[in-house]
Structure formats: C-alpha cells, structure tokens
Symmetry: C2
Subunit: 454 residues, 2 copies
Amino acid sequence: MNLYADLCELLRVDQVTQNDAERMRHGQDESYHRPQLPDVVVFPESTDDVVAVLRYANDRRTPVVPFAVGSSLEGHVIPVRGGISLDMMRMNKIREIRRDDFLVCVEPGVCKEQLNAALKRYGLFFSVDPGADASMGGMAATNASGTTTVRYGVMRDQVRALEVALPDGRVIHTGSLAAKSSSGYHLNGLFVGSEGTLGVITELWLRVHGLPESVSAARATFSSIAACASTAVAVMGAGIPVARMELIDEPTMRGVNRYRNTSFPEAPTLFFEFHGNASGLQQDVSAVREIAEGEGCASFSVETTEEGRKRLWDSRHVSYPAFRAQFPGKRSLATDVCVPLTEFAAAVSYTRSLLDEAGMIGGIVGHAGDGNFHAQIIVDPDDPQDVGKAHDLTDRLVHYALTSGGTCTGEHGVGLGKRAYQSAEHGSSLELMRSIKQLIDPNNIMNPGKLVGD
Amino acid sequence: MNLYADLCELLRVDQVTQNDAERMRHGQDESYHRPQLPDVVVFPESTDDVVAVLRYANDRRTPVVPFAVGSSLEGHVIPVRGGISLDMMRMNKIREIRRDDFLVCVEPGVCKEQLNAALKRYGLFFSVDPGADASMGGMAATNASGTTTVRYGVMRDQVRALEVALPDGRVIHTGSLAAKSSSGYHLNGLFVGSEGTLGVITELWLRVHGLPESVSAARATFSSIAACASTAVAVMGAGIPVARMELIDEPTMRGVNRYRNTSFPEAPTLFFEFHGNASGLQQDVSAVREIAEGEGCASFSVETTEEGRKRLWDSRHVSYPAFRAQFPGKRSLATDVCVPLTEFAAAVSYTRSLLDEAGMIGGIVGHAGDGNFHAQIIVDPDDPQDVGKAHDLTDRLVHYALTSGGTCTGEHGVGLGKRAYQSAEHGSSLELMRSIKQLIDPNNIMNPGKLVGD
C-alpha cells in the first residue's frame, strides 16, 4: 500500500511512521478493549498538517483516529478499522494566558500538569481533574470531568472556543472569548464530547480559575458505603460548596495502602476538599463534620497543610492503578454510570451486590457530589467467561442507572464499550445524532465505529 | 384559506383563533422590530397537540413560530412569514419537584415567578433572572441569562433534559437527570439557544439551587463608569464569588428615581449580591468594599434586610421600562454585546462615546462580572433616520465587540436583529449551522427567517 509513502510526501518523513512499537502504542488505551493497530501513525505539527491529512484521508476514505496520551478508558483511540492514528502530541504549546480574563489558549496536546504548572505563577489553575495527566484535546473529545466537577463543572463548561478541522478539510471556529453568548447554534457543545467522530480539535480556548484564598481537606471514615453516600447527599442538600467529595470503598483503600505503603484506615471513606476565603471555609468544614457525625462517621480528620493534602489526594489519584496492582496480569473494566443524587446510595449498594453475586473482584470509587461512580472490575482479558461476566454486570448496572433517570457514562465517554447502550439511553435521539454524524462526516472517516456506531 | 378550519378540526375550536387582538398580540415582542401578524394563533395543551400541528404544518409548508410571554428583545417571536403562532402558555404545569436532586420538571409555559413561588417552600430557587417574568421554554430557546449568571450560569447550564417535538412530528428526549454525562452528542446544548428554529420544546428538566444560608446586598457609587468597570474586573480577579454584580449608569439611575419615586444617588453605580454562609459572606463583603474603595468609590452601603434588598433589586429590574418611560411614545433598542472581562471597561466607554457622537439618548446597564452590557437606545420607530442611527451605532459596537474576541449577543439572542452579524461572528461555522437547520427542518417551517436566516 502507498499510504505511508503518500503521507511522507504530504508532510515530512519524520512525521510519519509504520514502526511496530509506535503502531502498538497507538493501537490501545488504558481499557480492557483488545488492541487493534493503525496502518500508519502521523504526527501533525500544525492545523495545516491536520487539514492536509484529513483532505487526503477523506478523498481515499481512509479512517483517521485522533490520539494523544492514550489514557481513554473505553477504547476511543483504538483504530478498529485501521488507517491513520493522528498523534496530536507535537501540538503541545500553550499559546496564550490571559490572566485577568481567566482564559488560556492551548494546542490539543497540552496536558493537565503542564498547563497547571504554567498557570500557577499567574495564581490560576485549570479545574478538570480526571486522574490521568490527560491532554486538553482528549478531555474535550470525551467531555472529561473528575474530582472537582462538583464545584467547577465538566470539561464542556470550560471550553469557550474551539478551532476544529472538519473531515473535508474545512477549518471552523466555534464559540468566542466572551463569558456567555446567545449567538448561533452551540457548536462548542456539539464538538465537545464528540470523541473524534466529527472532526479534529486543533486549538482550545479554556476557562481557568483563580487559586482559592484558602484550601482545606478532610477525610471521614464510615462503617458502610451507604453512610458515605447519605453524607454526600446531605452535604449537597445543605448547599455547602465542596470543591471535592470523593468516595473510596474498603477494598480500594486496602489497595492504596499496599501500593503507597500508607496506613489510612481501611474503611469506606469520604475525601473532601474545600476552597474559599478563610472564615467561610472554616464554617464549611464544621458544617460537613456535623453532617458526617450525624451519619455516624467513625473518624473525621482535617488536613490543613499542603503536604497532608497532597498525601490525601495522592491516595485518591492512585486508587485506579493501586487497586489493579493487587492482581498482576489482569486488566480492569471500569463502569461509569451517573445517577440523580438521591439514587446514588442505592446504586452503589446495588453495584456491590452485583459484584458479590457474580463472585467478581471489584473496588468502588465515586464522585459523590455528582452521583457518578466507578466499579473497577478485575478481569482476565484472555478469559472470555470472565470478560462476559463483567459485561453482564455492566449491562445490569447501566440498565439500573437508565431506569433511575441516569446515564451510562458520566465522564469516560462512549467509545467502544458504551455503544450498545446508546439506543436504550437516547431512544429516537440516536437517529438524530447519526444524521448529524452523516452530515458532517459523510464518508465516515473520523474515528469510524465509535460513539454512534455506523 | 382553510388553515383556520383545518386546525379547528385537528384540535378543539377553543384552541385556535383568528381574532385580530390575539393576532396583534402574537405579532410583536418587547423590541423595536415592526409587528407582523400570524394568520392563526394556536394554543396546544399537550405534546400531542404540538405534534399534530407540526405534522400538519410540515405537510403544507406552513411556518410555525413558538410564542410564550412575548418578552423577547430581538423579534424572535414575530411571524415574519405569517403562518401559525404556537402559543405555549396553556402548557404551564410544574410536573415534578425533586427537592434532594435539585431538579424540577416543567412545561414550557411555566414562568420564572410561578416557578420560584413553588420552589420556595422546598428551600430552592431557579437562578436565571433575565428581568422579565419569562417562560422556561422561551428562556431555553434564547439561552437567556441575567443578573445571577456570574455565579449560577446561563440557561443552558440549568437544562438537564428536554422533550422536543421536531418539525416532522418526531418527539425526542435529550439529556438525562444525571448531573453530568459523556454519552452521545450534546443535543441539549444544540436545542437550547436554537430560538424555535429546530423544533418546539415541550418539556424541560431544570437544575435548581438551594436558597443560600445568608444573603446580603450592597451598592457602591463611583464618579465614572470606568471606575465601576475596573472594580468589577478586580472583584472577579480576586475570586470573590459574587452572586450578582450589576452596573447602572447615571442616566438610568435618574430614570429609576423618577419611575419609582426613589432617591438613589444619580451616579454610576455597582449593585452587588452575596450568597453564602454567614462568616464567609461577611468576609466577601469586606473584600469587595476594600476593592471598591481602592477604585475611589464615593459611597458604599450594605443592605442586610430583605426589604432593603428588595428595594435595591427592584430598581435594577425596572431600569429598562423606567429609562424608556422618560420618553413617551418612543421605543428602545437594546444592544447586548458581551466581551472578555478585561475589555469591559473600554467597551462601555466606547459605547458612551458612540452615543454622544451620534447625539442619541441612551442608558447603559450591564452584567459586569460577565462582560455583558446593554445600551438602551431611545428611538422613534416611525423615524427611519433615528432607527438608522441606532442601527449604525449597533453595527459599530458589534464590530468592536467581535474584534475584542466577544459576541454580538450575550443573552438576548439573534432573532431578527442580530442576523446581519452572524457571518462576521461565526465565519465558516455559519455554513455548518445552516446545514444543521436544513437537516432538522428541511422544509424550513420552524420560525423561518430567524437566527441562521434562510
């Protein structure tokens, strides 16, 4: 085939590779989904490069799958039809920081830690924290969220403006730098969460936030997950503006202690973070402590030092690899349902009962203020029965979440793993989504087979 | 014509009218745009009624323009091609209040004050406050916002799920009741702000908020608009979570005093509201006072009583009719640009200089924390020269806002008045918007001639 040669001519030779290791790296993500290799990996360095590749691919009906750090959890970046893996990581410049407008302009390959390091000296931070050190383009593509969403919103809430290269090579600009707009259809919203199926994001203007005057963290342990969940619902009901409120169950705490050699109590735990002015924050912490004690918490400890807070949040952030590390050679499947707040406690209990019934190993962590949680189920990817049981559990949990008015995916996205639930969740809206895909990408070159299927 | 007779057969006779007074009422809004009458006004009472009308209209290529209270400011509800005005006000039931989920389910004709009266006993409130007692369907259609947006977001941020009747009679459900989702394309976002050009919203699930523990208001007067604007930017920069921060200029304050027989200082003023816990709020008020004093404020007064706060906000809410009431027989045109925060002071000064140069009467009010402001320009709708001067001023101001990275409309929407700016603002994105309109409404029956034009 001449795909490689053609692309070498279109760009520079060092921007195109067929190297097996690179193809392997671009054929997988962090999920349990089986790798499938792209034919070629291309490294664009500008919007023009992206446009050149898209025009070429669109003419020849060659699939194009945008790729960045590969931290997706539902197979989004796996090139299931081969073709081109478009690695955006050379487009990793922070183009502009507008401090007093709380705005930054970045290329899609800029990652969270890189951005926060640059913002710190301006007294700013980027709020979306999905755990992985993900890229801004990838986070926009999946509408990522995470621990701070309860206070600062999801990725879509941070996106002010986008530059997007469409499959036919047109480049459009969506949104503006204004804090709000009622002008035209909300294309920002359409491209955020479209998982690379409608075009390639080549630039983002993102909202950032001022570092809070004071920060405090706390940890409360309970005798049951249900008590954690009720506490979380009560905190939201009291209108306390927690910046983070994270649930970690007992098996996951055990994994964290082994992984990090820490000695946190191995009990169902809520981790809190508070942002605000000094006096307001103190009142918030007291109010949360009172609620937690009312729900029978076994311990409540406050971390005021930066070091203590770092240790506390490190244990939340490593919970995913820490839990899996207990089971060498296995992969894990993470469920991601999100339900209305009042359904959260019941949904978490139901999940634990499903794990127990199926005899499967799983840890539960959750963004308790959003009604979003993950059961990390340990599976042997080479054992079809094991994978089948995990899928069966997911099916039942998603069905439960949809019946409760929730969604199959709160933050991981659809990718490969949630396609089967799109019809049940969206009903006749799915038809409209498919016609929008067909409108923008008539040749189905953009990440084919994902999200809305074919 | 048999439109009236057909619709009487399709629904009930008392749901259809050709009465001149009703046609007149449905042929105009609050704007300066010239009324144009619908052929028939129809009052659906259910989604089925809406579907029946849409199917009929789509078969016969009859325009359909959704209508509620008629408070739009850019001619959105004016049936410029005649046809059917679809009055949604009989669909005005609050279907469900889910207190602990902070969610309500409403029909599109439910209005802001009706909703807040019902929510109060649950300790909740609906945050979007555009001034007028607008309907939820109308506010969603224009992505309305207002005084509290700086803290609680725009209408799009409150919409969790929608039922929408499409032009061909299909009924779709978008979104879910979960706090966040990464499932499928963001159709909620597409229909919010679509101004009735893509379908009819027949049900909304909206996010509501807990009434804050403490509320306080303050008023600061300055010697110049520029000092007001710098104060607003500094407050945002300090990360103080003001719930409202409204700018009113001297001519508007004068109008308010005459209209309400009050005696507020007739000077450029910032109105503040603070929501939070008691101690945090006190610290916020002190911090704002310090900033305002640093910017040379002439007076700073705090209102802690509910009555004092009501009087203060009443004067902001009546500012629009109060200013116009000084000029009997005239209409007004309200500009609505929104710019990045750091451009706010310069944009407001530029607007005043444009008014002075043109020798036009105008008052300026603004949502200072969002960079959004309105020049209310007094025009004689029967004097083409006057209207022409107002349009010319708007053109120059919009051009200025777009050059500053802003938008032609922060909250009023496009309707008729901002169509001319869509190409300049959106560039090649407008083509995509038009193709989405064409995809969903191929016969162009839904509010034809608005937003994306034809």
